[in-house]
Amino acid sequence: MIIGIDLGTTNSAVGVFRNGKAELIPNSLGHVLTPSAVSVDETSGEVMVGLAARERQSTHPRHTATAFKRYMGANRATPLGKRDFTAEELSALVLGRLKADAEAYLGEPVTEAVITVPAYFNDKQRKATRRAGELAGLRVERLLNEPTAAALAYGIHELGNESRFLVFDLGGGTFDVSVLEIFEGVIEVRASTGDNRLGGEDFNDVLIEEFRRTAGKDISEKDRADPTLRERIRVAAERARRALTEGSSATMSIVWKDQAIERQISTEEFEILCTGLLNRLRDPVLRSLRDAGIRSEDLSEIILVGGSTRMPVVRKAITRMFGRFPANAVNPDEAVALGAAVQAGLKSRDVALKEVVMTDVCPYSLGVEVAERGPGGRIIDGIFSPIIERNTVIPASRTQNYAPMRDHQRELILRIYQGESRHVVDNVHLGEIKVPLAGGRAEDGATDVRFTYDINGLLEVDVTVMKTGETRQLIIVDDDVAAAPDFEKRRAALAALKQHPRDSDAVKTVLARGHRCYEDALGETRQFLGDQITRFELVVEGQDPREIEHAIGQLTTVLDQFEGQTWL
């Protein structure tokens, strides 16, 4: 069976299409959402993935990594314990865990998956995602855009109607907007834009800044750089943000050096602090509506996806933008994974999905760098000449003809860029091709350049010199990415990492949570929690499964009381 995976910044989920509907697969803890976090045990070198790792973030910040989706495709390695991990490898660990969960649930081996990526991910980031899947042992033949996935999850129930709707996907780290149209059982993406640097984490940052500015004044400079402190403040900010979703005010409190530092914040204050971020939400929406040629009053539905859309400030801004209340049509956390499961079903030609077809678009313009002759014969360099314009339905293939600027040129260097700006310095550089020319007149060097976007949004370039018939092909590979033999080595190394077995997940998780709460508490509460944890550890050593289960339940109740509620 093909599974559909939502690899999110904060949380990931996996789903499958069975019996005519999409369903999410629970993990070893029984939750459908698995936090995208990886942590390394400092003594045994064991790797933990999921909620257990997430809990360890405040206690062992130097051994835990979260929100690494932001670094996909970049050449950045995070040191965790003894070795460095790239974002791909961290994602691969998460994907491996999800794969194990799926195999346990379905009772059969799983080899192929559909993975979602933000619609606004560029070519490098998409290739990195595919590689992560392959490192985890999954064949990734299809990458799906997240807003399209959410649209699938929504649209699968609306196939009979003709409607236009907008998907507003504000996740942990990325923001995507897609405008879609459904007619006659065809789900068509009309336009897609977004912002790769805007997400729930940025709203956290706002609170963190505010906390540091006001309540954190007493903390000395040296302490400010401490990652543990940073992590505590971050957790406090996250909790406060969630509390603001429910209530009209929240308290950010941390314990540092046996001191409790608090800051009260109200919804109005939060709204004022977030003004800049909320303004940034508007530009992609305007752009995608304009590209699709649809006015905001023509939309029949606004679909909210991503946990951050639960925030009242965001909802208010959306309501003000569109002049109407957004619908609660889908579960913001689960929609993308459900959509991925539907796509997995489409791919495996599930009978129930016979009448559904979906087409997607590429969100970036793609082209080459050219020089032009301006007025007065001056030569202007660094101009971007698009070959495939954004919001072209994919798969798409377009050809353009270019000629060298002057006679007697020996080669033509085609630098490939992805972006919208007229000057290439503002666009993303993907790669370059050098084509040798035969020399001679400028017209003789005319070259056909063909760009093909395949259905995953990945690029192929074919270059043909018309006169000599010389061809070059480019499959874009990053310079810093390993070649094939290295890949196998990395895969083996990753597989060789000790991972703690699934069965002990629950124990590890609740222990990690216990430790975190212990550090957050003060005085009597702290002592009490310490006692409870010690008792729990004794039971675990006893190795009686039923007693362990009972003890987990007990400790969880205690911790719930302390924290208010379990949350992810």
Partner: protein, 615 residues
């Protein structure tokens, strides 16, 4: 690439203007040609779909039904029931046209500001805070609308603005109602429209609006057509600022087109030789690039200038020369004594004659050359009947053939002059579809070579053949300079490879004409010699018109030296006067050969550039 007929076959549909049908067909086919499996087939299908949709939207897929013709009983057309795809169109042609269903721009519901919102669920009972929020939103939008109305009022004023338009616009930008996408989009479109067409108050708003909405952001593929008029207006403002500065090119034209056209102004403008060129340029720019410029120009002035430019008349230079040249000619003529004693009356008479002659020549030029050329520049001249095209050429040719046999007949020298003009006119008319260069392009320095010859000729003992000489010289000049120029231009225009051939002609011509000149000088017909030499010198110039670079400069120096040299030499007595033209002819041969040969040699003075090096 999907061609016309195959679009519909790919979609599996009859050609139709109904968009819904097209979409339905696309959806049907899409399930068969799955994008996951068949990327190429899908691409073809998608392209066919997009083109069919475009055609349907514009109503091009099915040709519109024509008005029914009067049906005569015997011409009833029996449309055969065939499976010809276009059978339906044939039937349509003979039916009543359908009443205009009103689709299109005025379709109810697509008017931007009248749209009804999509039908929503029945309004639920609103909680008090939501109701309060809705009220607040309404109030915000009302405030926003009030600000917009205020700004519109200011923009409607055609005189100097009375309020602070910029302040109001900034408040509009900051108003909380702009959070709504609908309000933002509507405000943007309205503002673009209002600023582009507004009164003087709009000029202060342009920069801020462009920056706020990002109308000149340079992003590719964005539809900013609503912002184009504003950007154009901004560019116009910049250009006007530049034109208003006294030292720039076009400033004179700018001033001329903005002043009231009094009689004095009109005369003054007529006499300015360079003004008409500037005005032409400015008007052309206003017509093609910057229509906003018209609002800054005086309409009377524009109309006057347009009328003047449309009808060729005496140029400013010519009018000036009418003031200067006749008295000089008169003085010279009378001083030779050929027209009687040197008395004021005679001078005046000669002056009048000269003036009349010049005016006549000018009028002949305008009516015989410029006007037909302008007329025929619009039409393809080869369509005109031959007799029109030849103009005065037959008469001129006849005269020219006859004239050499009657060297002493006084009344023939006007004929020869006429002949020259006729040939020129013929040349110009025949080659009329190349626009004639404006007179100001002929620099005075090109004719400076005439001066020594003129003096030389005038210094000869007065004889009956002197006028002939002058006439021969003038007509040869005109014929070969203008006529030859025109003919050569036409010939070269058709193919740039002919440059080398003209150079060859130049060399051969130089030798032939030079030889002829030498011979005639020896046999004592100096008039012909001078005429030939003169004429050829100018033809040589005509042939070399398109060659730039050092060779041209060099030759000009050579020629001028030759002129003065010949003059100088001819001062040394009768014999020298006879040989001077011959000597000059030789001089000319050398110049002609060098220039002609220059085309066959590599260009001197330019370094060979390495390939790929920057210019």
């Amino acid at each position: 690439m999907a061609l016309g007929g195959s679009i519909w076959s790919i979609l599996g549909l009859e050609p139709t203007n109904d968009e819904r049908e097209v979409r339905r067909a696309y959806a049907r086919r899409l399930k068969e040609v799955h994008p996951e499996d068949d990327a190429e087939g899908f691409q073809a299908l998608r392209e066919a779909y997009e083109r069919a949709l475009e055609m349907a939207r514009r109503g091009w897929a099915v040709p519109p039904a024509r008005k029914p013709r009067k049906k005569k009983a015997e011409t009833v057309i029996d449309v055969p029931a065939s499976d010809d795809r276009w059978a339906d169109d044939d039937a349509d042609r003979w039916t009543e046209p359908e009443a205009d269903s009103g689709e299109g721009w005025n379709d109810a519901g697509t008017d931007r500001w009248d749209v009804a919102p999509p039908p929503s669920a029945p309004e639920p009972k609103l909680s008090p805070e939501i109701a309060a929020e809705l009220e607040a939103e309404k109030a915000r939008q009302a405030a926003h609308a009030a600000l917009c109305d205020q700004l519109e009022g200011l923009l409607h004023q055609t005189t100097a603005p009375s309020g602070d338009a910029l302040g109001i616009m900034l408040r509009i930008f900051r108003s909380p109602a702009m959070d709504s996408l609908r309000v933002h989009a509507n405000t943007e479109y309205w503002l673009a429209h209002a600023i582009a067409r507004g009164g003087p108050a709009a000029d202060s708003l342009i920069e801020s609006a462009v920056k706020f909405f990002g109308w000149d952001s340079g992003r590719v593929g964005v539809d900013m057509s609503h912002a184009q008029p504003v950007l154009q207006r901004r560019e116009t403002a910049l250009i006007i600022e530049r034109l208003a500065r006294p030292m720039t090119v076009g400033h004179d034209a700018w001033k001329a087109l903005r002043t009231k056209q009094t009689l004095f102004r009109r005369i003054a403008d007529r006499l300015d030789p360079f003004l008409s060129r500037q005005v032409t340029d400015l008007l052309a720019r206003a017509a093609h690039d910057l229509p906003d410029l018209y609002s800054h120009l005086d309409p009377d002035a524009v109309a006057t200038w347009r009328a003047r430019l449309a009808h060729p008349r005496f140029s400013a230079l010519f009018l000036l020369s009418l003031l200067i040249v006749p008295p000089i000619l008169a003085l010279i003529a009378v001083s030779t004594g050929a027209f009687g004693p040197t008395a004021l009356l005679n001078i005046l008479a000669a002056w009048v004659v000269a003036l009349a002659a010049m005016t006549g020549i000018g009028a002949a030029w305008v009516n015989g050359v410029l006007k037909p050329a302008r007329e025929w520049a619009d039409r393809y001249p080869w369509d005109a009947p031959l007799w029109k095209r030849l103009g005065w050429a037959p008469a001129a040719a006849a005269l020219l053939t006859v004239a050499p046999f009657f060297p002493n007949m006084d009344w023939l020298w006007p004929g020869i002059l006429l002949a020259g003009l006729g040939l020129v006119a013929w040349a110009r008319i025949v080659t009329a579809h190349i626009p004639p260069p404006p007179i100001s392009r002929y620099r005075i320095s090109e004719f400076i070579g005439v001066v020594p010859i003129l003096f030389y000729v005038l210094s000869l003992p007065a004889s009956a053949s002197q006028p002939t000489l002058i006439a021969a010289m003038v007509s040869a000049t005109l014929v070969f300079r203008f006529g030859g120029h025109a003919i050569v231009q036409e010939w070269l225009y058709q193919s740039p490879d002919r440059q080398r051939l003209t150079s060859l002609v130049l060399i051969v011509g130089a030798v032939v004409v030079g030889g002829l000149a030498v011979l005639t000088a020896r046999t004592g017909a100096p008039g012909l010699a001078v005429g030939l030499v003169c004429g050829f010198a100018f033809m040589d110039r005509a042939l070399a018109t398109d060659r730039f670079g050092p060779a041209f400069q060099f030759r000009r120096v050579w020629l001028t030296t030759g002129w003065f040299g010949a003059l100088f030499v001819s001062g040394f007595g009768e014999a020298m006067a006879k040989t001077a033209p011959a000597a000059f002819a030789v001089w000319l041969v050398i110049a002609g050969v060098i220039t002609g040969a220059a085309d066959f040699l590599p260009e001197p003075g330019r370094k060979k550039r390495k390939p790929g090096a920057l210019a």
